[in-house]
């Protein structure tokens, strides 16, 4: 019995030195401990199983609080950290329902809250609700110098009702709602394209509502699904200036007044029709979808201030218009089983997306009409893909597949910008991209419980759309897993090499990911999980830009290579063990370290351009989070929990002179209770 384990270790060299696996959760809610009774409590014809965790969470942050809130965001307060409830009828013949399940997390102002609810009555109905709330904070320091700060809340809810869920005829109805609201900072450049950029306060108010109605009909081995959806999007975000903003010290510009209203109303009607059929030797699946999206908008923006030449300015922009995006797609999948060991699958997909937008743009300066244009934009994407995969089972332990994928995409665009009443002089362009790719793979069980999967893909694109697009690429994926009843060992390697070069510039990206993991349930209450991943990425791309001031000169066009090297080591260790008969301890440690190209500081370069590019070639940092959790069983229905988690984020050097390192001490105390 020992030989397979040794063999497995040999196959996963990463494990030999890696601090050994299971995802490290956040310290609270308490996972892995329970007061649930396997048998539950019987009440009438129902059985009830439930558990509630109430507690207090705390956080203390040193260093960059904005970055902490962007990455972690836990704060202080009393929470219903988690809850779990199931109610089941014991004979499957409840009066109004046969099953209720409810689970919640973080209710009471955690930044991440969710509730998952289901109620169903066998044969008659099933209703599912998923509600989520996510507090989003991001100072965007390295992206926008801290002037694109967001402090918003996403709330998502999905309601799904299925009538006659076990019947050959099902009706489904659904409603989803997504909102995002809250304060934010954005920036605005006014008066001229080289002028200063001013921070603007934003009141974000976005709302999306979707209604769905569907029917499924199952007749013998056919299944037909028809879905119709109605979607409405509303954006009433406004931008305002709260106080006069001065420009940079060398620039006399200032913004003394600004307001922008930009109400947007979007609506989409969509259809999905799916037909599925199976026979002894064939399975076929056809799908058609249509989504006709449209958005209408008005934008009214006014700004008052002084431009960079010291002239007073009072500008207003009025833009009205609409955009349409009809999307049609169709798919046909056919799988044939000509022999018991052989299957052949063919997929053909066609997708046609057309984006058509037009607006009327008017600009006023000091009440003088300065510009009026009518604009038209069209972008069309027609994509046809076809793939064929053949799979053959040589034996119970070995099967292999090979396939060919073909994609052909046509991109068309037309644009026009004209004064009113002038003739249409649209500028049109068209191109085709063709991608041919071959895939092959093998799944092998060399010994019992050990599975090895190897796969490779080679693709060639005759006209990549962008320099970073897949051009000539090769992918290798391997995965191995050795699984016994109480332990699992796994390992993997993925390599993706993309070379997309042309005469003047080149883009090349080479990523390699090595992973190893192990999980061992040593005995009841004692378990060890560990994983290690190494994610290595090298890219090189050609960049071209200008330096020099249009006023001070001289202006130079720079053609350079931009390098980016990321070398990430990610490790995970978690250990759960009983300290006494009534107390369990959970220790966890998670570290993610990007060593970049090995440098820990920035060396001086000979030229300003060289220095700028050198400074952003790599971004070494360490993000680590050890945690400890103690759970004490007070009674069979009550546990006391106490936990601590540290978050340490350390940048070796700041990017663009910004260093966002922080350290945070977080923890909680709670009661896990069943009654």
């Amino acid at each position: 019995m020992r030989r397979p384990a040794i063999l497995a270790l040999f196959l996963f060299p990463a494990l030999a030195w890696a601090p050994s696996m299971r995802a490290q959760d956040t310290v609270a809610p308490t996972t892995g401990e329970t007061t649930l009774s396997a048998r539950g409590e019987n009440t009438g014809n129902y059985n009830v199983v439930q558990q509630w965790e109430f507690g207090y969470r705390f956080a203390s942050v040193g260093g960059d609080d904005g970055k902490y809130r962007s990455d972690v965001n836990y704060g202080d307060g009393i929470r219903l950290l988690s809850s779990y409830l199931t109610v089941n009828s014991r004979d499957g013949h409840g009066n109004w329902f046969d099953e209720i399940t409810l689970s919640t997390q973080g209710l009471g102002n955690d930044p991440y809250e969710s509730a998952n609810f289901r109620i169903q009555k066998n044969r008659w109905y099933r209703y599912d609700l998923l509600w989520r709330s996510n507090n989003y904070f991001n100072p965007g320091l390295t992206v926008a110098d801290g002037e694109h700060l967001e402090n918003t809340t996403y709330r998502l809810q999905d309601h799904d009702l299925t009538l006659f869920p076990q019947s050959w005829f099902r009706v489904r109805a659904g409603y989803s709602r997504t909102t995002q609201d809250g304060p934010a900072l954005t920036t605005e450049q006014e008066f001229d394209p080289q002028g200063d950029v001013f921070p603007i306060f934003r009141d974000t108010r976005e709302q999306y509502n979707e209604y769905r109605l569907a029917a499924d009909i199952v007749l013998k081995s056919f299944r037909l699904s028809v879905l119709h959806r109605w979607e409405y999007f509303k954006d009433d975000t406004t931008d305002n200036l709260t106080a006069t903003e001065l420009g940079s010290p060398i620039d006399p510009s200032l913004l003394s007044g600004f307001s922008r209203a930009q109400p947007y109303r979007g609506r989409t009607q969509g259809w999905l029709v799916n037909l599925y059929a199976e026979r002894q030797w064939i399975a076929a699946n056809g799908r058609f979808t249509y989504a006709g999206g449209r958005g209408d908008f008005i934008q009214n923006e006014s700004a008052v201030g002084v431009d960079r030449f010291g002239n007073p300015q009072n500008v207003q922009f009025l833009v009205t218009g609409n955009g349409d995006r009809p999307v049609i797609s169709g798919d046909l999948n056919v799988t044939l089983f000509p022999a018991s060991r052989l299957s052949v699958t063919n997929n053909t997909s066609v997708s046609n997306t057309r984006m058509i937008g037009s607006n009327s743009y008017e600009e006023f300066n000091n009440t003088t009409f300065t510009a009026q244009t009518l604009n038209f934009q069209f972008l069309g994407l027609l994509l046809i893909t076809n793939s064929t995969d053949v799979r053959y089972r040589f034996s119970k332990k070995l099967d292999a597949f090979a396939g060919f994928r073909y994609s052909d995409r046509r991109i068309r665009s037309t644009e026009d910008e004209a004064a009113p009443a002038s003739p249409f002089q649209g500028l049109s362009a068209e191109q085709s991209n063709r991608l041919d790719a071959g895939v092959a793979g093998v799944s092998w069980l060399p010994i019992q419980d050990l599975r090895v999967h190897l796969e490779t893909e080679i693709g060639r694109n005759d006209h990549p759309f962008a320099p970073i697009s897949d051009g000539n690429y090769n992918i290798i994926r391997t995965r191995t897993q050795y699984r016994k009843k109480n332990y699992t060992l796994g390992g993997g390697y993925v390599e993706n090499y993309n070379n997309n070069s042309i005469a003047i510039t080149a883009f090349s990206s080479h990523s390699r990911t090595y992973t190893g993991n192990a999980s061992w349930n040593i005995k009841s209450g004692l378990s060890l999980d560990t994983s290690y991943s190494k994610l290595h990425l090298d890219t090189i791309g050609g960049v071209a830009f200008f330096t020099g001031s249009p006023i001070g000169g001289p202006i130079s066009l720079i053609n350079q290579e931009s390098l980016y090297i990321s070398n990430i080591h990610a490790g995970n260790l978690s250990l759960h063990f009983p300290v006494t008969a009534h107390a369990d301890l959970y220790l966890g440690y998670n570290i993610t370290k990007d060593t970049g190209d090995g440098r820990s500081s920035l060396a001086a370069q000979t030229t300003p351009v060289g220095q700028l590019l050198y400074n952003v070639q790599t971004f070494p940092l360490t993000y680590q989070s050890p945690m400890l959790r103690l759970s004490v069983k007070l009674t069979s229905k009550l546990r006391y929990n106490l936990g601590y988690q540290y978050y340490g984020y350390h940048e070796e050097f700041g990017l663009l002179s910004v260093n966002q390192s922080y350290r945070a001490h977080t923890g909680y105390t709670s009661l896990l209770w069943s009654f």
Partner: protein
């Protein structure tokens, strides 16, 4: 003629699926779930909580589609032999293909499994019981063997490492799930070229999954950023997690923008190269190193072709 033949094929009476599924012996017979609980009391005790109990509760399903024998086949021989794996269909002895076929006997009717036969999971021999545990489920919904994220991380350790980076979607925090973006049973081809679909579950049936939540990025806009629509959000973002802010592929914005906007080649929608920044943009001036400071509507704009407002 071809169409008539095809129609005829589909109208043939439904046959029992063959794909490696062991056929029960002719003499074997169905005995009903009541017989099973005599020995398997531990399984039966809480089975009324199992979604598969519906078939028993209805009392109307055929013996081959109900209760224990719905999955394990007729139990007559098993009872007669007083147990034993050789006398009944046991999933632990099945090949992956046999497991798949056993489950699809009922579950192929779900729209979400329409592509299961060609999904990368199936091709890699990852089938139903690799993720679902019928009798020892960790979740009451979907009978998952572990909590969803832990289940996916079992094989996808590289993705797990990404979700533990500073900037990430909140999967470990419990507010986002892998199935928000992926369909582990296989999906339709994504509306994009390139390597595989990654089993992405399209938003609104045929758009980027990201747009399910990030609805403000959906448009339609008068001025679309073509790379967003043509290559998708991944042109600039790493969807699982990144060491860089806002899930970006690069730590600072200008390097990412300039890799495309370098003005050379035959790239872009007009085949003239994606235009480079103008001569007025002195990249040594910090203002121009933060491209999105001015180009605030980088995902699409209704009023400005360069996404300034």
């Amino acid at each position: 003629m071809k169409w008539t033949a095809l129609l005829f094929i589909f109208l043939l009476p439904a046959g029992e699926r063959l794909q490696g599924q062991p056929a029960p012996k002719p003499a074997n017979r169905y005995v009903g779930s009541e017989a099973c609980k005599t020995c398997h009391a531990d399984v039966w005790l809480n089975f009324y909580r199992n979604p598969h109990y519906k078939s028993i509760a209805s009392g109307k399903a055929a013996p081959a589609e109900t209760g224990c024998e719905g999955c394990h086949g007729p139990g007559g021989d098993h009872v007669a032999a007083r147990g034993g794996k050789a006398t009944i269909r046991t999933f632990s002895t099945f090949t992956s293909q046999q497991t798949l076929e056993a489950c699809l006997g009922c579950h192929s009717k779900d729209l979400s499994k329409a592509n299961i036969r060609r999904s990368p999971h199936t091709e890699a021999d990852v089938v139903c019981t690799n993720c679902h545990s019928i009798h020892k489920a960790a979740t009451p919904k979907f009978l998952l063997a572990k909590v969803q994220k832990d289940l996916c991380y079992t094989c996808h350790a590289g993705e797990r490492a990404q979700f533990e980076m500073p900037s990430k979607h909140r999967v470990n925090e419990g507010v986002v799930q892998c199935t928000d973006c992926h369909n582990p049973h296989g999906s339709y081809a994504a509306n994009r070229m390139g390597s595989g679909s990654a089993m992405l579950q399209p938003a609104f049936d045929n758009e980027e999954p990201c747009l399910k939540c990030h609805v403000d990025k959906r448009g339609p806009f008068v001025y679309e950023h073509p790379s967003v629509r043509v290559e998708g959000c991944q042109a600039c973002h790493v969807p699982h997690g990144s060491m860089n802010a806002k899930l970006l592929r690069r730590p600072v914005v200008f390097t990412m923008c300039l890799e495309c906007h370098n003005g050379v080649g035959t790239f872009g929608r007009e085949n003239l190269g994606v235009f480079r920044t103008p001569a007025t943009h002195n990249l040594l001036d910090p203002k121009y190193q933060h491209c999105t400071l001015c180009h605030v509507r980088i995902h699409g704009s209704n009023s400005d072709p360069t996404f300034l407002r």
